[in-house]
Amino acid sequence: MKRIITALLSIVLLGAILTPPAYAIDALPFKDRAQELRFQQLTKQLRCMVCQNESLADSTASLAQDLRRDIFNQMQAGKSDAEIKQWLTSRYSDFVLYDPPLRPSTWLLWFSPLLLVLIGAMVLWRILRRRAQQPLPTTDSGEDW
């Protein structure tokens, strides 16, 4: 029984290792390999608005296909990544970007982890200081190791 489970598990693991990363592939006529890589890099950073937990690169939603086509066309027209992102955010808001921009409305998002670490450090410092003020326990705790 154990052997069967091990065999099954290794098949699953092997499959997971050997499967190439999945992209939703459209037949887009890229100029060269560099442009194709740039396209993949860009669409990986963008959110599919329909599925919302998938990137534009991975999604098979029909709107994602349309947006990939539009992004491709804009690349052909010589638009920069920043211009394409701007084009998308002006329609679909910053939510399409997986990497949210730093601005006053996103300060809480960006700095709350730092804030939590600071609060934790303060609590820790207070506890340690209080302990330091307490008399040391006697070295002979009565425990025999």
Binding site: M49, V50, Q52, S62, L63, D66, L67, D70, T89, S90, R91, Y92, S93, F95
Partner: protein, 181 residues
Amino acid sequence: MNARLLPLIGFVGLFALLAFGIHWNTRHEMNEVPSPLIDKPAPEFNLPLLFDPTKTLGSKDLRGKPYLLNVFGSWCPTCQDEHPFLMSEGKSLGIPLIGLDWKDQPDNAKRWLAHFGNPYSTVIADEDGHTGINFGVYGAPETFLVDANGVIRYKHISVLTPRVIEQELKPRIAELLETKQ
């Protein structure tokens, strides 16, 4: 303060946070993304009429009075849920209800409207979906209230329920019609 109460206080705090989260989730549509186009000029468009593709209707033709743009498609099941409310309320809105047939085969859309009824004053066909994308549409049905100057004043994602029509749409339409006169 008794230090032994601390775990209990922590637990109650966490419980309150999670309960609030569940409460928040039931009250809000978490997939809804606020549109950056609110209070901005509606994107320009000029699209063929569904029932007469030789003619077009454009954003310029619609200047001068407010209108409601409803994005739908025959492929969209939620649009079917919305459809009866448009049939019953569409005519009493006081402004034209324009249908934008989004990413759809015109023949399918015509059949869909023939079968369920046509609540729209005009239907325009956006076959390749570009106008929808310019409006930031990501899930039909979506509805845009555009004022006489061509500015988007309000957007609703998903079904226009009678409650939304009464409480959110009609007051805004009344406001637009009032300021116009």
